[in-house]
């Protein structure tokens, strides 16, 4: 954990951003109502496996959000929470902001995929502010999503650009919500948050346990049901 390693660059290992989104998409159940955060999470919609139908919610008032209409297409008044143009599928509905957040806060959204600055081993999420004194604080709907949605997935690079772990003992950045994250998809691994801490679920192809553990700011619990060879 003292070693500063970057997961980008020439000697890159692990998943690309697209591959992370694709991996997370595998875990979205058929028929789920899903909200996707801004950034990599938005790309999850493109990778839902064949044969599954997922209904996307965007907190600015649309259920049944469809894909981007393509560059230069679409309408300025049909956008997602990231303020990008989207489409509406058959069976869509529009509603106002209080109804939209009633869906979120009321526990009606099954799953939300968010980005992160830090996730603690207790599932605390920090994704809205670095706490820098000169930054303009901006929270959007993130705190509502983590407080209301039943299952919270996080997609994030395993480390910051400076090589610092983003999975930590406890968050140093201001929290979005305490004990809210269920699962984390990084470029290096899929990790569950369980009462004991970070539980490895799956390593990215070509990535070894020790490599991930060294880049994780709290204990990484190995996969229990199988031998991991010399990695422990």
């Amino acid at each position: 954990m003292t070693e500063k390693a970057t997961t980008s660059g020439a000697n890159r290992i692990g998943l690309t951003r697209d591959e992370m989104a694709r991996r997370a998409a595998l875990d979205i159940p058929d028929g789920a109502y899903v909200n996707l955060g801004i950034g990599i999470p938005e790309q999850v919609a493109g990778y839902v496996p064949e044969g599954r139908e997922v209904i996307y919610h965007t907190e600015n008032g649309l259920l049944g959000m469809g894909p981007s209409p393509g560059l230069g297409e679409g309408e300025p008044e049909l956008i997602n929470a990231g303020k990008r143009r989207v489409t509406a599928l058959a069976g869509a509905s529009f509603f106002h902001h209080a109804d939209s957040f009633a869906m979120i806060r009321g526990g009606h959204i099954d799953l939300c995929v968010l980005g992160a600055l830090q996730v603690s081993k207790h599932g605390d999420l920090a994704n809205w502010s670095t706490g820098a004194p000169d930054a303009i604080p901006a929270v959007g709907g993130a705190m509502d999503l983590v407080a209301g949605v039943r299952t919270i997935y996080v997609i994030t690079q395993h480390c910051t650009r400076a090589g610092e772990p983003k999975l930590v003992e406890s968050c140093t950045y201001p929290l979005t919500g305490p004990a809210v994250v269920d699962r984390i998809y990084t470029d290096l691994a899929v990790i569950d948050v369980i009462p004991e801490g970070f539980q490895l679920v799956e390593l990215a192809p070509g990535v070894e346990f020790s490599y991930v553990a060294e880049r994780t700011g709290a204990e990484l619990i190995p996969i229990r049901q199988e031998s991991l060879g010399g990695e422990e």
């Binding site: 139908e53 058959a90 509905s93 529009f94 957040f101 009633a102 869906m103 806060r105 526990g107």
Partner: protein
């Protein structure tokens, strides 16, 4: 393909269990899901807590469910009806309990339950016996009572048209409590006069988005309670 349609009212209510809290849409007969209620009577679930503005009329629909002895508690604003002696008898004999809630507070508690708001303050009932025993608070010089959100295990509601995703539109004043009950129940069961394909309901006009709906059953020609009562029908 998402398709919440189910074939019969019997299948639709099959999971309702003894002791469940069941919200039933409707204000008087407008919006009352009579066919679903009759299926619930046939199903046999007992010891129910029912949330409805009223207590039904005659001996059909909600009044028939109460008459069958299935309702141990009513939560409502106006349990008196010209055409029904069913509830008064059970209430006076102590077999059915009553939680009386002002109509707007009832609506707001249901909406709060569906919106993840556990409690809120309201001016309604301050200074009346219905505020007795309730926590009060003064905010900017005015008194308010604390009321709690209301959720349910099931909601039974009636609408004009539903699509396979469960998007709903209603008919005139039959809308009343149904959209908020659909929000507040874990499982929302809908009878629709028309069931249509996704895309056939204008997304700008959807009143209840499908996320709040679990099951849809077609009831093409729903009965009108007042007509059944006028004909002296008693269910079953």
């Amino acid at each position: 393909m998402i398709n919440k349609r189910i074939e019969t009212t019997g299948e639709a209510v099959a999971d309702i269990f003894d002791g469940a809290i069941v919200m039933v849409g409707g204000f008087g007969e407008a919006g009352s899901p009579i066919e679903l209620i009759h299926a619930l009577i046939d199903h046999g679930a007992n010891d129910l807590t029912v949330v409805n503005n009223n207590t039904g009329s005659g001996e059909v629909g909600l009044a028939a469910l109460i008459k069958a002895g299935r309702v141990s508690k009513m939560i409502c604003s106006y349990p008196r009806t010209a055409n029904s002696t069913v509830f008064p008898e059970l209430y006076r004999s102590g077999r059915t309990a009553l939680e009386l809630v002002p109509q707007g507070t009832l609506a707001e508690r249901i909406r709060a339950g569906g919106a993840g708001i556990p409690a809120f303050y309201t001016p309604t009932s301050v200074g009346t016996p219905l505020a007795d025993g309730k926590e009060q608070r003064t905010i900017e010089g005015r008194s308010y009572v604390l009321e709690y959100g209301l959720t349910a295990d099931f909601a039974l509601i009636k609408c004009r048209a539903a699509d396979h995703h469960g998007n709903l539109v209603y008919n005139k004043t039959a809308r009343n409590f149904s959209p908020i009950m659909a929000m507040a129940a874990k499982t929302t069961i809908v009878q629709a006069a028309d069931v249509v394909a996704p895309g056939e309901i204008d997304p700008e006009c959807v009143v209840t988005p499908g996320i709040f709906v679990s099951l849809v059953v077609a009831v093409d020609e729903p009965a009108h309670e007042s007509e059944l009562v006028a004909r002296g029908v008693s269910y079953p």
